[in-house]
Symmetry: C2
Subunit: 152 residues, 2 copies
DNA sequence: TTTTCTGCAAACGATTTGCATACAC
DNA sequence: GTGTATGCAAATCGTTTGCAGAAAA
């Protein structure tokens, strides 16, 4: 599967006896529409909804993001800016498993689409008996632009 | 250098015109004394202080943890449990740069002392021009004990 | 003496929850 | 019709801040 569809949502909800609601559909749709602009927070999602004249309450946004994460449709992550952020859990191994480069100066988050952790994961499983289902890798440093700026 | 001492703290504070206070000394001492039991939150530190009959306020704990992180003595991290956690930034390359394995069932945090990211870091620097100064790697999955339990 | 630091309490911001109503199945 | 989901407002929890007094340099 390359990308989630609203049909996938309907199916996953049904499997666990959750109900398909307009609110859950709209919130997933935001992630499908904004796949380029990743890392949306609950407030971001709520803001986009209001721009679309959707009257979905913030509490419902939080509850839906939590649910979509538990269903494996979204991934929840923290970048140290005080709120949780979410992105589509794209199952495509080519776009899946990217890393995040976080600039300590301008706080930009850059994606690096290359994983290279299979060997390390195999070693961890081997040495510790820990079964890995997911990982989250953040690199902190200075982006190209800020480095150039700092040289001036 | 293998481990920080109170003298190191005094020196780093002096370099930046901060003052050496009893509170800062006591808080660093907690990390030196509890180096085995890593990942202390502000509340954890405050709790340990109260057990020791130290009357240091919670706000001071937060301010000191922030300061010690900025001085490079502590590392601040998030495990998704809603609060920031800190550990000694051990400069020894043998104990430094470990990864965290977070069990999705019992929420235990296990350390894996092996890094293996130099190659990936070099590739990132090469391809994106990003200068890396630190990284944080979390693996989510199931620990040995929980896996055995789940088989029963 | 001068400046920074502390402790307290109040403020804050993100997230959660209780409850009555609305909606999906 | 039954049970879950929503919206609202209030509650919660971790963290930050303003301020007056205390302590370091």
């Amino acid at each position: 599967m390359n990308k989630f569809s609203i049909e996938d949502l309907r199916q996953r909800l049904q499997e666990k006896d959750y109900k398909m609601t307009e609110q859950r559909r709209e919130i997933l749709q935001i992630f499908l529409d904004h796949s380029s602009e990743h890392h949306l927070s609950a407030e971001d999602v709520h803001g986009i909804l209001r721009k679309q004249k959707s009257e979905i309450g913030l509490a419902t946004v939080y509850r839906s993001l939590e649910l979509l994460s538990n269903l494996g449709i979204l991934l929840k992550m923290e970048f140290g800016d005080g709120c949780s952020r979410y992105e589509l859990n794209d199952n495509d191994p080519f776009s899946h498993r990217h890393h995040h480069l976080i600039c300590l100066k301008c706080h930009k988050v850059i994606e690096f689409h290359e994983d290279k952790l299979d060997e390390l994961e195999a070693e961890i499983a081997d040495k510790s008996g820990f079964e890995i289902v997911n990982h989250e890798v953040k690199f902190f440093g200075y982006c190209k632009e800020c480095r150039e700026e700092m040289q001036d």
